[in-house]
Amino acid sequence: MKPASFKYYAPTSLDEAVALLAELGPQDGRILAGGQSLVPTMAFRMARPAHLIDINGIAELATVTVKDNVLAIGACVRHAAFEASTVPGVTGALLRKVVQNIAHYPIRTRGTFCGSVANADPASEWCCVMAALDGVVLARSQRGIRRIAAADFFQGVMATVLGEDELIVAAELPLLLEDTVTGFVEFSRRKGDFAIAMALVTYRLESGSIIEPRVAIGGAETHPRRLPEAEALLSGKMPEGGAFSAAAKTAALAIDPMEDINNTAGYRRKLVQTLLQRALETAA
């Protein structure tokens, strides 16, 4: 099908975009960045925005910067940017591992990190990364910049705390320390499809024991989040089978899985257990 009519705006400055959003947001105006989720939704006429504010012409939003050990990903940075060595160190290596799982290459050349965060699909890999690393969303409006922690940002299936006049200008990720071990595994039935579940882990070792463990699960619940119950079982333990399977079993019980026509809650629990186990075993 073809998208319904809308009015198109192509601001070239951030101030202009934010002013347009303040005016048009309350009148069913939406931001258009990569469009890889919005445009298909419009083609199905599940979305019929009255106004589209295209932010692709705002040069300052297309940058990735590292400052004071914080990675700032601008609103127009494409998924594909993370396939190259754009981001240094272990954080870059983790993002390279994750990005391979996002849709397909011709989608990754257009879709954006921040767009994925704004869309808040439960199966979004970047939302899982934001939750796992305690990322921060920078929301700009005419009222100023609001910094929103990932743990507060995601509210449910495609639901966030973002106001209708707020534009995500960047997402921030604290850089991992260089001795951090990371693992990411997801499962989908077809290559490039939405994941049924995913697990992301990071930890460091001190005298052979796990410290600062992070365990995040995506795709299984209404939104990705860290699982403190599973992290507690890893903390202070040796990185091996016993601690891994205890954490994986606990994660499976701790989640409140979504159900759909193909995947029961029980199946998603088992999948989370398997994926977390694999993420821990393959973490490097």
Binding site: Q36, V39, A43, D54, K191
Partner: protein, 160 residues
């Protein structure tokens, strides 16, 4: 609401000035307004890859972008592959290795493979299969497409 905009597109080096509604997808404008029907429309929601073209050298789904967004940009479609009477090495390879049957998905596969190999000529087999998983083919079972792209990768490196 239905305001039309004037846009300029450069497709395969040729300049097109067209006036379009904002809601028109890039692929529709390439086909209907610019008359280049080599690019096919399959699913219209970014799943099948039949409409894959190169935007500033990068493969992308032309059904997932509005034509107004491509104003001033440079595009390449399947019509731009051959040089005079001579087919592009990728087109030659698809013929030789039977990488197509009905041909509906072919323009998308050609542009995907050409776009990626121009940037990354030394793809491993694993990377190649990952890239080719982007597009759907319902005739070949993919094996011959993989063979064709592997062969073309070698020929594209050879000096013309």
């Amino acid at each position: 609401m239905n305001a039309r905009r004037e846009i300029n597109l450069t497709i395969n080096g040729t300049h097109y000035a067209v006036t379009v509604e904002a809601r028109r997808t890039l692929v529709d404008v390439i086909r209907d307004d610019c008359g280049l029907t080599g690019t096919h429309i399959g699913c219209e929601h970014g799943v099948c890859g039949a409409c894959t073209i190169l935007l500033d050298g990068e493969p992308m789904r032309s059904c997932l972008m509005f034509a107004v967004q491509a104003h001033g940009r440079s595009l390449r479609t399947v019509e731009g592959l051959q040089r005079g009477e001579r087919l592009h090495p990728m087109q030659e390879a698809f013929m030789r290795h039977h990488g197509l049957q009905c041909g509906f998905c072919t323009p998308g596969f050609l542009m995907l493979a050409v776009g990626v190999l121009e940037k990354r000529p030394d793809l491993t087999d694993e990377e190649l299969i990952e890239i080719l998983s982007s597009n759907l083919c319902r005739c070949t079972g993919y094996e011959n497409i993989i063979k064709a792209v592997r062969a073309a990768a070698v020929n594209m490196k050879a000096p013309a």
